[in-house]
Chain length 445, copies 2
Amino acid sequence: MNIILLSGGSGKRLWPLSNDIRSKQFIKIFKTADGYESMVQRVYRQIKEVDPAATVTIATSKTQVSSIHNQLGDSVGVCVEPCRRDTFPAIALASAYLHDVKGVAPQEPVVVCPVDPYVNNDYFEALHTLSQLAQQGAANLTLMGIEPTYPSEKYGYIIPETSDAVSKVKTFKEKPDAKTAAEYIAQGALWNGGVFAYRLGYVLDRAHELIEFDGYQDLYDKYATLRKISFDYAVVEKEPNIQVMRFAGQWKDMGTWNTLTEAMEEPGIGKAILNDSCRNVHVLNELDVPVLCMGLQDVVVSASPEGILVSDKEQSSYIKPFVDAIDQQIMFAEKSWGSFRVLDIEDESLTIKVTLNPGHSMNYHSHQRRDEVWTVISGRGRAVVDGVERPVQAGDIVRMPAGCRHTILADSELKLIEVQLGREISVQDKEKFPLEIVSHGKEKA
Amino acid sequence: MNIILLSGGSGKRLWPLSNDIRSKQFIKIFKTADGYESMVQRVYRQIKEVDPAATVTIATSKTQVSSIHNQLGDSVGVCVEPCRRDTFPAIALASAYLHDVKGVAPQEPVVVCPVDPYVNNDYFEALHTLSQLAQQGAANLTLMGIEPTYPSEKYGYIIPETSDAVSKVKTFKEKPDAKTAAEYIAQGALWNGGVFAYRLGYVLDRAHELIEFDGYQDLYDKYATLRKISFDYAVVEKEPNIQVMRFAGQWKDMGTWNTLTEAMEEPGIGKAILNDSCRNVHVLNELDVPVLCMGLQDVVVSASPEGILVSDKEQSSYIKPFVDAIDQQIMFAEKSWGSFRVLDIEDESLTIKVTLNPGHSMNYHSHQRRDEVWTVISGRGRAVVDGVERPVQAGDIVRMPAGCRHTILADSELKLIEVQLGREISVQDKEKFPLEIVSHGKEKA
């Protein structure tokens, strides 16, 4: 099975665990035997359990690449959108990537699926069936229709011609009000979960009709010039030959704190204490200090280095404008090489904790307007400053005056405290260079 | 006016802003023209406004001395109890301190008052009257009786002989149930707010009757051997000649989050965002990141480096057992020389931010089982390592291997990041020495 997972944009609705650079699909919230996994880890694991040979490609933006590799490892396929251009350009680019980079033949089937459904393995078995239906070619597009459990206003509806397991699609309906949704359901309508399958060549043909391009690299290069247009508008609405396959298993959308906490197996993740009079309270605490809840009802509490949310669960769906108004430095980020967390902010200094994964290094870079000091607190590695490489371990200090080029390479997991000093500390003040080692220091750094 | 302020013990009921080493009276919660002041700062300011010549002595434990000097300056009188021995030994020690250290004559009046009443200046004017009544000597003890506003179960009651402004006391009653309290109030009873005045010699005589000691220093030295006994039991219950003065002004006890938030002039202190559907919600946030509250009612949210409380206001009075069960390192402390805050805890390292007040220094000390590194992030001062003093400023690094003696003296406000490294990091691993400077380093540290 070739599967393209669409990994969407920034998820402020789950602030403070999601923000501009950390999307909800990366929050580690689902209990496993030995800890917690994120939505993207859960979905990837489920796909591999159902089809160990599946080729998974994640279509996403540059900002998510670090988190994806950090959580899924380096072997997962990632098709990076240079900028956001809605779903049709994204699916066209991912399809061109499968064809030109991964060598998938035009007659092979491809399944497209959002990265964040909260489902069981039967869902991925259904995707496998969807892929087979696409390969058989009875229709140009094969959609998954989810059997509704209530007249939701949050989803589009697919109305099939028959109530068979697989049926031609009669028509599509936009998100309705609850009363209209109930009427649709009475007619046998299904939720449109944004899942569909096709033969690769079909979407490549549509892409070439709408965009003049010569293969994946050319499409990538001109991506910023493409018109924003949805796959529904560009392809689905113009295609008369569409079929839909019913799916009646569990399917939940984890878009708000309310729906997300419903999927939690226990009331607290992280250090959380709830007294006996708490009812329907969930705590997600990423901080090192405890959250104590007393006498609350229907409340979600979430604490991260970015901030603290305390909200009635229903009200939490109105969070976005409040979070948009918060103007604050990013306090935590996962990177391809590890992560960093801001520990302290002063007018002329910034102190962060940096964790490097074994075998990884940050970019070789310099800053014009700040000095930096590293104090290694655990692990072993090699620091490079202006071309001189020196071994470092816990207790070693590395001074980096403004202008010097520097990086650190982790031989084991390596943690350090970085103190940045200067009057104009900014993430923009960074120039990257190819790593060049001119000598090896014998002494400790 | 000679006034002894009793500054009580650790206040876990206001966790996470109070804890074992930080009592509620030091929380900066009351709005002033240019910021916030704590209960102890508010009371001290009010006393000085009413009687600029007042001699204020704070009777407290060792653990609070740093916070008192940090918040009130070095000129306030502090009588330190070497250990906790209940109110009679504490008041006896403070009385001996006034006589032997401050030179207060036996016939002079003294007023004893808790450090944490939330009152207006009329309360301190009443204390002044109480002091004058004690000096006139119509009774051996002159108490303040607070006119009850409701039949509270939280206070003891004083039943006066008459309803005059000043009356002989008929009897005292322990904390009653609400029904009994209402009966007391019908008889003209007053709340016992723990405020009383006497001629200094009177309490010194009682102290010498019950304890064999020869002046303040001797009493201090044998303090640990004294029996725990309350002033009420040792003195008040045995004294037939007691009068009470009525006080009808505002008087609030700030012992719980519920009463404390009633005294807040605005819903939030620190970074707090409340949406329109919040009702009777108060946020006290000491962290650098925002707290967002949505759709809550009758809730207090408090966040500090120690943890986060989210509680129904009524329920918050049951907090103590939950906080007792939290076993956690102290994350923030005020010291006489400034403050520190824990930024990061790892298995074999601890990173803290240290702020030194101008002109202050930490003790000259060493650690056996950990190395330390300072990175100065702002200010100017002098670091002393093994007797060698060197000037330091932002960007300078000081390395302190295990065993070396070290301190830093702040010439301006000075902030630094301290990284502690070792397998057994413990607050117990500290040996203090008198400062000895053997040479002055010319280079930067």
